[in-house]
């Protein structure tokens, strides 16, 4: 371990050069990325000493957060979309200042922020509402807490009797992915948990009636309920917990400095000042002062492959969602695409232009954007509230219809010209010739491309998880974050995807054979 890959790069530093050698650095990067993958997280240590040496030498504390996290943690203040503010931005600045460092924000997707920390390199600490839980302590080293929060149920203002988890049995409850709230719903059981990627959209869906309640951390509830008379808190906060700063395991020197800085900020009232600025200071924060370091972590390590009896059924259940979303989406795409292709080829001029415009717009913009637009945009602007599953099918169907239309057009144009002439010579009208002679041949020509798209949609369907639909990839993500077993669960998930795609392509091949009589 002492002579690890970053060794040479370090010697460069000791020789007094301000920057590390490029080649050595990219090699180090590659190994840094690969080692945890094969060797497991625990096998990796950055160096003989500690990240603190490097941080103090650079004079910069690189901290990761997710700007999508929203108020009050970290957000773009209204009217200044290129600035960042939030209590964690202020906190990071205060901690860095206390240590004589400059803070530097690094954006990272919150879902995978702890694994990213362990992969090393682009940031030194995570200050992003990381909960002080056994699960997290098993993955990273956590500082003393800097904030005390509780779980808060939020419901619509006119809701009655929904003020406890027991009362929410069978109800739809929005929750943030990979949080204590999510694990609480899971453990409680019997609640229809809808998993979200961000702190904002579940409130919108609660307002619009897609959800019955939201379970979230108190700061999120506080900010989002301010000035909102459509929603209210249900019951008092419960299940108190803490946020803490995360560092890589084993970096005791850096951790000790962070602990010291938070202690000092708590004692001299800086924390209170920051939290009051965001209207977050409450009696609950007294727990910060009373806090004593706990014993060793007791969270058990999971291996998905050994516990396949537990995880495989969970993944298989999620794959049912993947299958029905894909099959319904493809059915829509096939029908709509055929109509578009025909209008594009044979329609009157204005209809033809409309079909071309449709195809170009839906092919030329990201599927993700279209999903947001259909699910959130329509609800907001027109009051059209599609369920997540329905919106997913519509979005996939509309998007793929553009591709299918082009497949069919290529198929129709691929039918020899003599076929139309022979049909017309027999006295057929164009419409009849199209339906009986050209299309059956065109579909045979298009079939391989359509199969291809069908298989591609199995994979693309994972995008719909952004609208709180837990399909296979999302389920994998949730479980991988919970257990830390990215490899074992990944192999299982990949296996299921492969089984689905391979079945689809076997079916398509059989269909091609069945329809392929005309070719010798």
């Amino acid at each position: 371990m002492e002579t690890h890959c970053v060794g040479p790069a370090r010697r460069d530093d000791e020789a007094g050069r301000p920057k590390r050698g490029r080649g050595a650095r990219s090699l180090a990067w590659l190994l840094v990325l690969l080692v945890p993958f094969f060797g497991g997280v625990g096998a990796f240590k950055t160096s003989a000493a500690d990240a603190w040496d490097e941080v103090s030498r650079a004079g910069i504390l690189r901290y990761a957060n997710d700007a999508e996290g929203g108020a009050p943690y970290i957000f773009h203040p209204p009217g200044s979309p290129d600035q960042l503010t939030g209590f964690e931005v202020d906190l990071a600045a205060a901690i860095a200042g206390r240590l004589g460092l400059k803070p530097a924000f690094v954006q990272n997707n919150w879902d995978v922020i702890l694994p990213a920390l362990n992969q090393g390199g682009s940031f030194d600490v995570v200050i992003a509402g990381i909960e002080w839980t056994p699960e997290n302590r098993a993955k990273v080293a956590l500082s003393r807490p800097y904030f005390a929060f509780g779980q808060q149920l939020v419901v619509r203002a006119d809701a009655t009797g929904l003020d406890s988890l027991d009362a929410l049995r069978g109800k739809r409850v929005g929750v943030l992915s990979a949080t204590a709230s999510f694990r609480m719903l899971e453990k409680h059981g019997g609640i229809d948990a809808r998993v979200y990627q961000d702190n904002v959209n579940y409130f919108r869906d609660l307002e619009s009636g897609r959800l019955d309640a939201v379970l979230t951390d108190t700061p999120i509830a506080r900010v989002n309920l301010a000035g909102n008379d459509k929603l209210r808190r249900a019951g008092p906060p419960f299940a108190p917990g803490f946020y803490a700063v995360a560092v890589r395991p084993g970096e005791t020197a850096l951790l000790a400095r962070i602990d010291g800085a938070i202690d000092a900020l708590l004692k001299d009232g800086t924390l209170e000042k920051i939290y009051r600025k965001y209207d977050l200071w409450d009696d609950g924060q007294a727990a910060l002062t009373a806090w004593k370091p706990g014993g060793e972590t007791t969270a058990e390590k999971h291996s998905a492959l050994k516990e396949w009896g537990t995880y495989l059924p969970i993944l298989l259940r999620a794959s049912v969602t993947t299958i029905w979303v894909t099959c319904s989406g493809m059915a829509l795409a096939v029908v709509l695409g055929l109509g578009l292709a025909i209008v594009r080829l044979y329609g009157p001029a204005p209809a033809r232009w409309a079909a071309i415009a449709y195809i170009e717009v839906f092919r030329g913009t990201p599927l993700l954007l279209q999903i947001y637009f259909i699910y959130f945009g329509l609800a907001q602007q027109l009051g059209v509230r599609l369920s997540a599953g329905f919106a997913a099918v519509i979005a996939l169907g509309l998007n793929y219809a553009a591709t299918e239309a082009e497949n069919y057009r290529a198929g129709i144009e691929g039918v020899p010209k003599g076929q139309l002439e022979a049909s017309l010579a027999l006295g057929m009208k164009r419409r009849l010739a199209l339906r009986r002679i050209l299309l059956p041949q065109a579909l045979r020509i298009s079939l391989p491309s359509v199969t291809n798209d069908f298989i591609a949609m199995f994979k693309d369907s994972s995008i719909v998880s952004v609208i709180a639909l837990v399909e296979l990839t999302k389920e994998y993500q949730i479980r991988a974050i919970d257990t830390g077993d990215y490899v074992g669960l990944g192999l299982m998930t990949a296996g299921i995807y492969f089984a689905m795609s391979y079945t689809a392509s076997l079916g398509a091949r059989a269909l091609e054979r069945k329809l392929g009589h005309d070719r010798r």
């Binding site: 003599g418 022979a422 057929m428 009208k429 059956p440 041949q441 009589h517």
Partner: protein, 245 residues
Amino acid sequence: MIAVEGLRKRFGDRTVLDGIDHRQERGQSVVLIGPSGCGKTTFLRCLNQLETPDAGRITIADVTIEAGGRVDRERQRQLRLRAGMVFQQFHLFPHLTALGNVMEAPVRVLGRPRDAVEAQALGLLEQVGLSQHAGHRPGQLSGGQQQRVAIARALAMEPAVLLLDEPTSALDPELREEVRDVLRRLADEGSTMLTVTHDMQLARDIADTVLFFHAGTIVESGPPEQLFGDPVHERTREFLRSVRD
């Protein structure tokens, strides 16, 4: 049965048909010969409106189309219903069986009952010697067999005239005879036929009258014995010498 007056057709600057007049009686079998590119296929395709002529008048049975002006699709269709077409490359529908190819138009276009059409179609396939192959798809048939299905397909619509565009040209020499045989019988039975061909054997066998086409005009016409034995025009003689070589 067929009357063509002053038919003209240009492709760009090139005049392909330069004022063709042609009359053909019921039961007559006429064969068009002439060098490649002389306009004979275009003439045939103009007759059933697969090409739109620039000028002239075409009458087949009781339908007349005058060139120029708006295309009247329904009238075109009526004309096509009276003129069955057989193509050089057969153009059978590959996704249908031989029987399906023959039945498609009578059922779908004329709206006749399926069982009646099926009986008629099987009869036609028998006439062209293919009753054993009714259930085969075009891909499973030889070129000669495909062309015979194509002839049955055209006949199933009971057209007033049969237009044949080089019906034996795409076939290997040993397969031509089976198609000639079918066409000879049709001619003997008194079908009204207009055939474009390079197959002089076929022309001799089925023609009542042979037309020699050159550069978009009919240079010479006459019964086959006369036109092949003692052609009047130098151009005709040249052409016949070239195909004999």
